[in-house]
Point group: C2
Chain length 104, copies 2
């Protein structure tokens, strides 16, 4: 299990607009080999958001970043950046221990 | 879907010890109502780790924090803190949009 998070700080008052841009985007993820789950997550601090994508493993994530699907999805990114306070911050995480229902 | 992350910065050279302390702990999670999945995650920056617990919803997470299982699990916390560089940082995240296999 491998998780790619992109952390966003949204400008005050722009939260609804930010969420709407995610709802109306085309993700191009559903047919990607090794894709397991995507969530847009909202934190408890004002403006705190993260995209959270679970991959079967790191190799599947890397392959996606080099695919036409990735390029197509990120051509839409400009519309999100207009409501951000600063650049997004990527964090890549590899599972070391897991417990509970199987995922991925 | 609700995610509770606890972010850790582990002292240089203490990564294996940190992971071992997680491996040998008793989690007390498997029987908790609303618990879905736990992972210990390792980031790509040196010393970057996170515990990552998926709950059915925020209410299940809050109920767990007020339960004897939570108290029992966290009585073991002292052994982890010895290998940390600073205090852990909790981030609580609520899903706004999801896509992919159902989780939770």
């Amino acid at each position: 299990m491998f998780i790619a998070m992109n952390n966003f700080k949204v400008r005050p008052g722009q939260e609804a607009e930010f969420e709407e841009r995610w709802r109306t985007r085309e993700s191009y993820l559903s047919d990607v080999e090794g894709f397991v789950h995507f969530a847009l997550l909202k934190g408890e601090e004002p403006g705190d958001y993260a995209s959270h994508t679970i991959w079967r493993d790191r190799a599947a994530f890397i392959a996606w970043t080099q695919s036409p699907s990735f390029a197509a999805a990120h051509r839409q990114g400009g519309s999100v950046s207009q409501v951000l306070d600063g650049a997004p911050h990527v964090r890549l995480l590899q599972s070391v221990i897991t417990e509970g229902v199987p995922i991925g």
